[in-house]
Amino acid sequence: MSNKAAVQALQAKEKVMQDEIERFKKLQKELQKFTASRMQLDTQVNENKTVKEELDRLEEGAVLYKLVGPVLVKQELSEAKLTVEKRLTYITKESERYADMIKETQRTIEQGTEKLGRLQQDYQQALMKVSSAGR
């Protein structure tokens, strides 16, 4: 009887462990995504900064175009400047948001590792019990 109970306990523990592992993997994937998008945002920030500098160097009345799809749309300098600034702020905000999310995910991952470790220990103990009970 004790053997059966031990086996059942073992199975239950195994299931719990599997769930935890899957959650862990998901978390890691999310982390990767966040890091990638954050890098992208970083490059965009840099680019926009360069554009802003160039626009500042342009004299008044310069001819400016924006590429929207296959179309080059004529823009005015002031408008362009504004747009670029807005875009810049937006991107910086996004980048920060992503940074926070990344930190969060990392923390959850750490916790997950600990939990996983504990579960594994439990599992091992249960395994030993089963094997000893089975004898």
């Binding site: 342009l58 175009y65 924006k66």
Partner: protein
């Protein structure tokens, strides 16, 4: 130890890799710079003509003849899908700015590479040195400064007095002994100069002289007192690194045993202290007792009440709890001191007190049987003689 060739080669591998990466980055930036320069040259020549006849790249492989109009108008990409129409000259300026940025990055990268190179060269030097050390060892030299040493000794002594640490009285200095030790004094002076080399030489010489004296005494003793001889004396003389010159049987009990040679280190000898000062305190005595301590073989046959010691502990027990201290003892005066210091001479002296020892130089007058407490224990064939027969010889022959 970590100084293995494999570890170093691994480190150097990593360095080489980092160096290569850095070099590639530098190449990339230089390529950019070159591109911008070419661009500027082109922009220079572009507005020279109203139209240019050119071969227009067509698709992936082909070219087509074409014309280039509006030679002064250049559409510049500002980044992030923004375009600006500029003249050739203005475009040149833009290109100049970008080139400047590229140059800055190039400089940074070059610095990084220099740093890496310095690091790797340092590692290679270090590895050579460390491997050598691992093989041959590292010579530790201590400079000897006479004044400093004197000061240090003084302060130490004061410290000890303050703490109330009792220190045994000084052993008489060497110069009171034979000519051997005037050499020792000369040695000390040499040591004062702080030359380790010379000290070693002096020590070697003194050692040899000591050995010579030892051997002479041994020869004498062999003739005089074969019975009283114990193995330990022979052994004591012949132990290799034994710096201990035991007072060989010439137990003048009033006299202090000064024969214990000491290994002194240069930093302990003081020039100003001179022989009268307690030198031994700061000396490190290497005081090697016999490894097979004081064993008298064939005790059963001789029946002499001679103790068989197998360990110094035995000796200690036999002599009423005189336990050898953990640190090496000093050669104290014969007759023992305060029971604290361990001295093999002590043992022997105490023993010899109970036994009638002959005078120093004279041959043994007393038959061995009188030296023995239990006469009956001697086998009959040994009891008789007034001959000077070595117990050992007898026992050996009986074996």
């Amino acid at each position: 130890s970590q100084a293995k060739p494999e570890n170093f080669s691994r480190l150097q591998q990593e360095h080489a890799r980092a160096l290569k990466g850095s070099q590639e980055t530098i190449k990339k930036w230089e390529q950019f710079k070159y591109d911008y320069e070419v661009l500027q040259a082109r922009l220079h020549t572009l507005p020279d003509k109203l139209t240019h006849d050119i071969m227009v790249p067509f698709g992936q492989f082909g070219f087509m003849r074409g014309h280039l109009y509006h030679t002064n108008e250049v559409m510049v990409l500002l980044g992030d899908n923004w375009f600006a129409q500029r003249t050739a000259k203005q475009a040149v300026e833009i290109a100049e700015h970008r080139k400047k940025y590229v140059c800055e990055m190039l400089e940074k990268e070059k610095k990084v590479m220099e740093d890496l190179q310095a690091r790797s060269s340092f590692v290679s030097e270090l590895s050579a040195a460390a491997l050598q050390v691992a093989r041959d060892g590292f010579e530790i030299r201590e400079e000897y400064d006479a004044e400093e040493e004197a000061r240090r000794k003084e302060s130490k002594r004061r410290e000890r007095e303050r703490r109330g640490i009792v220190v045994p009285p000084p052993r008489p200095a060497f110069p009171r002994q034979t000519g051997v030790l005037s050499k020792g004094q000369g040695e000390e002076r040499k040591r004062e100069e702080g030359e380790e080399r010379e000290m070693k030489e002096g020590e070697n010489q003194r050692e040899m002289e000591l050995w010579a004296a030892l051997e002479k005494k041994e020869a004498e003793e062999e003739e005089k007192r074969e019975e009283g001889e114990k193995e330990e004396e022979e052994e004591g003389g012949k132990e290799e690194e034994e710096k201990e010159l035991k007072g060989r049987g010439s137990v003048e009990r009033g006299k202090t045993h000064q024969a214990v040679a000491t290994i002194t280190f240069s930093h302990t000898a003081g020039p100003d202290t001179g022989p009268s000062v307690r030198q031994h305190k700061s000396h490190t005595h290497i005081y090697i007792m016999s490894i097979n301590p004081i064993i008298i073989q064939d005790v059963s046959t001789s029946g002499v009440e001679e103790l068989v010691y197998s360990t110094p502990g035995d000796i200690a027990r036999c002599h009423g709890g005189v336990a050898p201290p953990r640190e090496t003892g000093e050669g104290e005066e014969g007759g023992g001191k305060r029971g604290v210091r361990w001295d093999p001479n002590l043992v022997r002296h105490q023993q010899e007190k109970s036994v009638a020892t002959p005078a120093d130089v004279e041959p043994l007058q007393v038959p061995i049987s009188q030296l023995v407490r239990e006469k009956d224990s001697l086998p009959p064939n040994q009891q008789v003689s007034s001959r000077k027969v070595s117990k050992f010889k007898l026992s050996r022959s009986s074996n």
